[in-house]
């Protein structure tokens, strides 16, 4: 079987994970290793009046008890958000100060105040409990509603009314006019529930300081070690960039939460220098709930106008976005350029206007979580379409079909330019697989058993492959979003690919190798993917936003182009044939029309021995490339969900879930389908089970797996995953990306199915049995 592009090759990296030989951060043990434990604020909002460290310092094994004043005193900088958003009135966003250890004030439960370094984990934890922090409690704003209330406490002095920014996109007046002239306007108030990403590996860090070299090493659970190095050095001044090595070894899932550089990594690096010890910190699950960036948490009012024929004429959206207590690294981009720019969905919408009010609350910071803004947009657009169809008495598929974008490229009113797609093709494929037309009979059969059956669809679109650097720069991004790769052909012909992408479950060690095998016909076993170490890989922007395929692999393709050119030159020289006749096939370099050929290893050897190379050619066979995308990519698809509900308990069971996606060119269908499965499970989790709950004092009530309802095997169905692909026109491999689609398309499909079953559109996520039951019964009581 082929090992190239399109082959469902089994994963090369599996063996170490299957045998317990994976090497995650917490598995690493350093010489001279001490442990860190953090004293965290038990209050959501409080002044720090004083810290008594004496008892902790006297405890056995304690090496240091460090606080925020020491940290800032040593010149460690505040944690920043790297994307500047400008408000409607032209003013810059109000970024409040975030010190890795709180100095004067804590702003959420879990805010780190003191770090204790001790010989053992238990000693560090016990000493942390002995630190006495004198707090003066302040009023708390734990929700969006509380943050905008008239008497809301001021969380950051430089953010009046707790407003970070008041941003807009699109044309307000034409949109208002379109809605005023519409034959029908559908209006909804929707909440996108707050989630915790919950990668199964909790965050961890190990730091080492080499005093003789003044050199720092950080092992960390990161999706982007190079970004971590850049930010830690350039912004936080923890260590100079050339004196800091960041390694992200095997990482147990990320889903966005491991993009950011958290206080613990900063403090552990700094503390390693202070104590001259290697320092390990590993979060427990409660700490993960209390400190990992959360996702979503939007409250939105939306109006969608239709003309008398059912064509969308305008879409107006007003969203309040919760940011938590501090602005996390990419937080500002999520409810703006990753959300509002996708509000056109898969539809022709001539007028769109969206305003976003970004707010501080006394909760964990919120940032990108799988999908990041796009699930919020997809949920909004697809619930609006479904509700509109019901209000208009239209078939929901037909109303979508009528409004689909059909010509490409398509410029939306909100920045995005869709390059390709066949939206109706995916819709048709999904409807056929779901036996949409047979639904009425199935519904009748359920009704005969006293059950409510419902079917719902969602036609999502998202933007991946972030992103053209100049474009995002003009929108406020603090970094370029290219990717880099290096292809190293060894003298024996084996190939190493050094990539700035980072695999934490995505299977890069297999798919990236397939791209190389496809190009040169060399065996997969002769290719090694190297990633996750700033000392080995020249540079990189990491893995998030489904960018490793469209951006990371494009960089590899570009480097392969350069290698191919050099290989052909060497081949032509050695075979004494014209360069244009040289082809690379099946791991051989051949001259067409002759029986002359060289083995791949012979080329490698020739390049490094340099005994007989073309004149002026440098020895060696190693090429690097930076790839800067030309455009976003636009994966899209149609998801259909069918549910059955027990009206007496409100319990929902998913009977069928069909996904038809357009991911462009697929490198490994097995791995792509796995990405879709996992994404759908997270989306089903959001729709049915998951929610981070705070009480009004800002205590997180759902901070363990006893209370935060993670989807388990029998909460989710089997998934019917199909493809109807159109090639992306803007990158060399034609890839669109697949990492987030499942989580983006599934929540509206599930909720549309439930609201279809119960005949009530007023449902919020998660659709718990008690909420569904209440809606069924309110309808019944109204009827009686």
């Amino acid at each position: 079987m082929s090992e190239g592009i399109g082959a469902p090759v089994k994963r090369k990296e599996d063996k170490r994970f299957l045998t317990g030989s994976g090497r995650y951060t917490d598995d690493i043990q350093m010489e001279n290793q001490a442990y860190a434990a953090f004293v965290r604020s038990p209050h959501a909002h409080a002044m720090v009046k004083g810290i008594d460290k004496s008892a902790a310092e006297a405890m056995p094994g304690v090496l240091a008890v460090l606080d925020g004043k020491q940290l800032t005193g040593d010149g460690i900088g505040n944690i920043i958000c790297g994307w500047a958003i400008t408000s409607k009135d032209g003013s810059p966003m109000n970024m409040g100060a975030w010190s890795a250890l709180a100095t004067d004030k804590t702003r959420y439960v879990g805010d780190a105040v003191v770090a204790v370094i001790a010989e053992t984990k238990a000693q560090a934890r016990e000493a942390a409990e002995a630190v006495v922090v004198d707090y003066d409690e302040l009023p708390v704003a734990a929700t969006i509603g509380a943050a905008v209330a008239g008497d809301a406490p001021q969380i950051h002095d430089n953010a009046p009314g707790n407003v970070i920014y008041d941003w807009e996109i699109g044309e307000k007046d034409p949109t208002d006019a379109a809605l005023a002239g519409a034959a029908h306007v559908t209006e909804m108030d929707l909440t996108n529930n707050r989630l915790s990403p919950n990668a199964m590996e909790p965050r961890a860090a190990i730091t080492k300081y080499d005093a003789a070299e003044d050199h720092y090493t950080l092992y960390t659970t990161s999706q982007n070690p190079h970004v971590a190095r850049l930010v830690l050095s350039a912004f936080y001044q923890v260590a100079p960039e050339h004196k800091l090595r960041v390694i992200a070894p095997d990482v147990g899932g990320g889903f966005g939460s491991k993009i950011y550089i958290y206080p613990e990594e900063i403090v552990c690096l700094w503390a390693a220098m202070k104590t001259k010890r290697s320092i390990k910190w590993t979060a427990d699950r409660t700490e993960a709930f209390l400190t990992d960036a959360h996702g979503r948490d939007h409250v939105t009012n939306a109006k969608m106008g239709f003309d008398a024929d059912g064509n969308i004429v305008g879409f107006k959206v007003s969203t309040k976005a919760n940011f938590g207590a501090y602005m996390s690294l990419f937080s500002s981009a999520v409810p703006t350029y990753l959300y509002a720019t996708l509000l056109s969905g898969t539809y022709n919408i001539p007028n769109i206007y969206c305003e976003v009010l970004a707010l501080y609350t006394n909760t964990v910071p919120i940032d990108a979580y799988r999908g990041a803004g796009r699930p919020e947009a997809s949920y909004l657009v697809e619930r609006m379409m479904e509700t509109a169809a019901r209000e208009l008495g239209r078939d929901p598929a037909d109303l979508r079909r009528q409004n689909f974008v059909r010509e490409f490229p398509h410029q939306t009113p909100v920045i995005m330019n869709y390059d390709s797609g066949d939206f109706e093709g995916n819709l048709n494929q999904a409807m056929e697989a779901a036996d949409w037309n047979g639904f009425d009979a199935r519904k009748a059969e359920s009704a005969a058993r006293g059950k409510l059956r419902g079917i719902g669809m969602a036609c999502y679109i998202e933007a991946c492959g972030i992103a053209p650097s100049a474009a995002v720069g003009s929108l406020g991004a603090g970094v370029g979003l290219w990717e880099s790769a290096e292809v190293r052909v060894n003298p024996v012909g084996s190939i190493e690919i050094l990539t700035g992408s980072h695999s934490h479950g995505q299977g890069h060690e297999t798919t990236f190798a397939q791209v190389v095998a496809d190009r040169f016909g060399v065996p997969l076993d002769s290719i090694q993917i190297v990633h996750g170490d700033t000392d080995k890989v020249q540079f990189g922007m990491g893995t998030y936003g489904s960018r490793s395929g469209p951006v990371g692999m494009s960089a590899i393709a570009k480097a392969l182009d350069k290698v191919e050119i050099k290989v052909k030159k060497i081949g032509a020289h050695l075979l004494e044939e014209p360069e244009e006749n040289i082809v690379i096939e099946d791991g051989q370099v051949k001259a067409t029309g002759t029986n002359k050929a060289l083995g791949w290893h012979e080329i490698g050897l020739a390049a490094y021995t340099a005994h007989n190379l073309p004149a002026d050619m440098e020895p060696g066979l190693k090429e690097g490339a930076f790839y800067d995308p030309l455009n976003f990519t636009f994966p899209m698809g149609c998801f259909i969900c069918e549910v059955e509900i027990d009206p007496d308990t409100g319990k929902t069971e998913i009977l069928k879930f069909v996904a038809s996606d357009d991911f462009g060119v697929i490198i490994n269908p097995m791995i792509v389908e796995g990405q879709v499965h996992g994404g759908i499970a997270q989306g089903v989790g959001q729709a049915l089970l998951e929610e981070v709950v705070y009480n009004e004092d800002g205590q997180q009530l759902s901070a363990s797996y006893m209370d935060y309802t993670m989807p388990r095997a029998d909460d989710v169905p089997n998934y019917d995953v199909l493809h109807h692909n159109t090639k992306c026109t803007t990158n060399p491999l034609g890839i669109k990306g697949c990492g987030e689609a499942g989580a983006i398309g599934s929540p509206p499909a599930v909720i549309n199915a439930i609201t279809n079953a119960i005949g009530n559109n007023d449902l919020s996520m998660p659709a718990t049995p008690s909420k569904v039951w209440a809606l069924i019964h309110s309808a019944r009581m109204a009827a009686e």
């Binding site: 030989s21 199964m200 899932g253 889903f255 699950r285 499970a681 363990s704 797996y705 388990r712 095997a713």
Partner: protein, 156 residues
């Protein structure tokens, strides 16, 4: 302090540990067998599942001292040769992504197949999903884990 002695993956090990040492910490920190993972602190996630005297247990919820004299098998000890049929099935069916929950999944999978075989019961998809209640995976959506265990059930 307690002196504990047990057989781990066929080897007798003995160590003096603090009384409060959990079995999972004994396995990870003392024996340096780091394939057994810790994913939560409420005995919910199952990343720490090992076999104690032939039964699947969560090693995060058991004191090392309570395993004194026991026969313990961890992920490092399941293969007799290259890969155990359950490990191979996970590779064949793409039953893992980030790999963190995988050792626990495999230990639970082996346990359920053995148990159903011993009881002469059929391990169908619904039974596998129900039996997986003690193991959380955030990557795979469980679809391919279920397929993996189904395949292994036919091969074990």
């Amino acid at each position: 302090m307690s002196t504990v002695s047990m057989t781990v993956n066929g080897k007798v090990v003995a160590s003096v540990v603090e009384d409060r040492t959990l079995l999972v910490d004994f396995i990870r920190e003392h024996l340096r067998l780091t394939g057994t993972h810790v994913g939560c602190d409420t005995s919910q996630c199952g990343a720490c599942v090992v076999h104690v005297n032939g039964k699947a247990m969560k090693s995060c919820t058991m004191l090392a001292a309570a395993a004194d004299g026991a026969d313990v098998t961890t992920i490092e000890g399941v293969a007799n040769g290259d890969l155990h049929p359950m490990q191979k099935a996970f590779n064949d069916n793409h039953g893992l992504q980030c790999g963190f929950c995988t050792p626990g999944m495999i230990m639970s999978g082996i346990d359920m197949v053995n148990r159903y075989k011993a009881e002469g019961k059929t391990l169908d998809e619904a039974a596998i999903r129900a039996e997986l209640e003690g193991n959380i995976c955030r990557c795979t959506g469980y679809h391919n884990i279920v397929k993996s265990i189904q395949q292994a059930a036919g091969e074990m």
